[in-house]
């Protein structure tokens, strides 16, 4: 028998009192695809960071092709054929694709970079694995999907035999994700072994050979993919049965928010092109699409950070186009931003400070320009209790919250004010099943209460599960709405590809 491509032997890693990995042993056969599952904070990234040499394990050993890997040295891991695509991309936005791929691949003291050769080789690899890129593009100008390709190419360029992908699809839309897995499949055909981390069970089911489940740092189960079901995996992960809540039928009320032929031009580019939609009371309107088609601008528009160049935007019949974020919040608009770290919360601030950030000047939390700290703390404590925000008190630094709990905090502060309109932009990105279920439940509650909700999602499952009606966004334009009952993944996939004038797949 050939040695396993990769063996993790009783890896233990502690951060202070926290045991992030507890004697985890795993192996990966050559050409195998292993999915690593677990709740947020289960220790998946930590384990992979140890494997790649970012961290040093407190105990245990990593072996690649039977040879022990010196700990704490990414260079050694790379030399042994390990490549890693990080959860948070490690790219330099100001540099070109070629620069990002080339770094570290040549002897540092070589007198001149062999850029021409490198470019040829990169284009070769790109063609061979179906990962097209422009070597001279600045990374900051690339879409998320393209950046991911660059990350994978970086690993392949270094001759990776074992590829680790930490939540590679967290930021990809379904078709992109499917293409990625197609590519990965092709790679295993060429002898690569792959470990990927995902919270999306359908992906795990579709793409992996085997599944390993981490819970609170421990390896709790290993299954052949063919021998398990999504439901079992969800239960293994969380330790209890979880299911996403279902949308109950509800008759919508009058329109709350309407956009009529709104165009947004930013930096000379038309980001939104005469889009029209309306969101009604007690209704969720889903906007689906591949990332980079104008979702971000739509999010900014409805958050008060972008202005329409032409067209009308009305909230409860009144013009809302010129309202500032604060004014919107006062008018009962709740906003859940796309990126919780970049926009949703400020990591260095306490939970209570983030809880009132949007409403800092609201009389409930401020008097005569002074912060009403007691009131704010009480509010935060209330959110923590009501929205089941774990591992935090009002004075905890927000940075210390896990992604799911941070999202619950944002959701909580948004929904606590009983908004009449809610913008939910990728509300479950990167969250585990349990957290997703909780977020969905909250959104549906708000809908039940009569809030009008605009859901922007790249997650078809989510959009189909939550939305009453759906529109696709493609190149800044919106398709006509279709009722959820008439939608399925295939139809949505076509819509997202820009094929709008198809007859109903009845």
């Amino acid at each position: 028998m050939t040695p396993a491509a990769l063996e993790l032997d009783r890896i233990t890693k502690r951060f202070g009192p926290l045991v992030a990995n507890d004697a985890v042993s795993l192996s990966l056969a050559q050409g195998e695809v292993l999915a690593l599952l677990g709740e947020n904070g289960a220790g998946k990234t930590t384990l992979m960071n140890i494997l790649f040499g970012h961290y040093r394990a407190d105990e245990g050993e990593v072996r690649v092709m039977g040879r022990p890997l010196p700990p704490g040295q990414p260079r050694a891991a790379i030399a042994a054929g390990v490549g890693m695509v990080h959860q948070h991309f490690t790219l330099a936005g100001n540099l070109t694709v070629l620069d990002n791929v080339l770094i570290g691949s040549e002897p540092l003291l070589r007198l001149r970079s062999r850029r021409a050769e490198a470019r040829t080789r990169l284009l070769d690899l790109a063609a061979r694995f179906g990962l097209p890129v422009d070597p001279d593009a600045r990374v900051a100008d690339l879409s998320v999907g393209e950046r991911q390709r660059v990350e994978i190419l970086k690993a392949l360029y270094r001759d990776a035999r074992i590829l680790i992908l930490d939540e590679p699809t967290a930021v990809l839309a379904r078709p992109e994700a499917e293409r990625l897995f197609g590519t990965l499949r092709g790679m295993t055909g060429q002898g690569l072994s792959i470990v990927f981390i995902s919270h999306k069970l359908h992906e795990v089911m579709a793409a992996s050979d085997r599944v390993a489940v981490l819970r609170a740092g421990r390896l709790v189960a290993e299954r052949r993919t063919t021998d398990t079901t999504p439901a079992e995996l969800a239960e293994l992960m969380v330790g209890r049965r979880v299911a996403r809540p279902r949308r109950a039928a509800r008759a919508p009320g009058p329109p709350v928010l309407t956009a009529d032929r709104v165009t947004v031009v930013e930096k000379g580019e038309t980001r939104l092109d005469a889009i029209s939609f309306e969101v009604r009371e007690g209704e969720i309107l889903g906007i689906v699409g591949v990332s980079g088609n104008g979702q971000a601008t739509l999010g900014r528009l409805l958050s008060g950070l972008a202005r329409p160049s032409t067209g009308a935007l009305a909230l409860g019949g009144r013009d809302m186009a010129r309202l500032s974020p604060r004014a919107l919040v006062r008018e009962g608009v709740g906003r859940i931003p796309e990126d919780r770290h970049a926009e949703g919360a400020i990591g260095e601030l306490a939970v209570w400070e983030n809880a009132i950030l949007e409403r800092a000047r609201d009389p409930a939390f401020a008097r005569a320009g002074l912060v009403r700290r007691a009131a704010a703390r009480a509010f935060a404590a209330d959110l923590i209790a009501r929205f089941d925000i774990r591992g935090a008190g009002p004075d905890t630094r927000t940075r210390l919250l896990s992604g799911g709990n941070m999202q619950k905090l944002i959701l909580g502060r948004t929904l606590a004010m009983n908004p009449r309109f809610v913008l939910a932009n990728q509300p479950t990105r990167g969250l585990d099943e349990g957290a997703i279920a909780a977020v969905h439940a909250r959104l549906l509650e708000a809908r039940e209460r009569g809030a009008a909700i605009l859901l922007i999602s790249e997650e078809l499952e989510e959009a189909l599960g939550l939305a009453d009606r759906l529109q696709a966004i493609v190149k800044g334009r919106l398709s006509d709405p279709i009722p959820a009952e008439e939608a399925d993944t295939r139809r949505l996939g076509l819509l997202m590809a820009g094929v709008w004038e198809v007859p109903h797949a009845a």
Partner: protein
């Protein structure tokens, strides 16, 4: 006023521009190298002072001029190592460390100078670098005096600009340094050590700053005086931004600043009666103006001033 403009066409002016620019070129390249790797080095003023003192002292004590420059570079590198040690592995505030190094470097330089050198009526002198006279070329009209009659360190400065531009743009090391200033995590993920790269860049950059200081005492003048660096280091910090962190433009910026300076010295004669402060102010105000004009195109290294701590979130 046409007098004022006529001055711009004199070889005298342009020759002065290169001389005045030389310490600025060294300093700016040094600061640029540090910043490209992500470290702001406000220690420059003290490092240049130390370089000026050590360079001069080495020659005074019997070393030759090039040994003096080497010693100045080493002194700069030593202070750079201190700055790097504080700001890179320890991740301390680059502002505090830098300003602390400026204080420390200057004070130590003055102190050591007092201990080691007997000052009589006038501070002792050394035989400084002389302008090089290239047979035919130095006699060319205009170009001769401007380009072919400078002291050797001026050519070294120009060479450094070219080398640094080349290294940054064309070599694997340059790429690694730039990447370290953009995203040190990306560097680490590719198996390189961003801490070492940053330390190396700061040490090398500080060595260049030391050379800039030494130019003042071994070429522009032949004695050392306390406070003689006169804020040139701060100008270099400004020039780096003006140059959008590019060596080519740093060279240009230093020359431009020197042009303002050389020009105002001549304007003070050509246009008497205007308060001299207005002339002295011109280089600073014009630099701000120039900055406003280039600001939109400037691209700050993303990880500049962001400490890199391994395995921290």
């Amino acid at each position: 006023m046409s007098d004022a403009l006529d001055l711009l066409w004199t070889a005298s002016l342009w020759a002065a521009v290169l001389r005045i620019a030389t310490p600025l070129i060294f300093g700016t390249l040094g600061a640029l190298l540090c910043e490209r790797a992500g470290v702001l080095n406000l220690g420059i003023e003290g490092i240049m002072t130390m370089g000026a003192m050590v360079g001069w002292l080495t020659v005074h004590l019997g070393g030759d001029l090039w040994t003096g420059l080497l010693a100045a570079a080493l002194a700069g590198a030593a202070l750079g190592l201190l700055h790097a040690a504080l700001t890179v592995p320890l991740g301390l505030s680059q502002h505090v460390s830098g300003l602390g190094i400026t204080l420390f470097g200057s004070a130590l330089a003055y102190y050591l100078y007092r201990l080691l050198v007997e000052v009589g009526d006038l501070p002792p002198t050394i035989e400084p670098f002389q302008a090089i006279r290239v047979p035919v070329l130095s006699d060319l009209p205009f170009l001769g005096p401007v380009l072919f009659s400078q002291a050797a360190p001026t050519y070294l400065a120009l060479l450094c600009a070219g080398v640094l531009a080349f290294v940054l743009a064309r070599t694997p090391l340059g790429l690694a340094l730039r990447m370290t200033g953009e995203n040190p995590h990306a560097v680490e993920a590719q198996g390189l050590n961003p801490v070492r790269l940053r330390v190396g860049a700061v040490v090398a950059g500080s060595a260049l700053m030391g050379l800039g200081g030494a130019f003042l005492t071994t070429a522009a003048f032949n004695s050392f005086f306390p406070t003689m660096v006169q804020g040139r280091g701060w100008i270099c910090i400004a020039l780096v931004v003006f140059a959008s962190w590019r060596p080519g433009r740093a060279l240009l910026g230093a020359l431009l600043f020197a042009l303002f300076d050389a020009w105002q010295l001549r304007l003070q004669q050509a246009v008497p009666g205007v308060p001299y402060q207005l002339f002295l102010m011109a280089p600073y105000l014009l630099s701000i103006l120039a900055l406003v004009l280039v600001a939109r195109r400037a691209r700050v290294p993303e990880a500049l001033m962001v400490p890199y701590r391994r395995g921290e979130r």
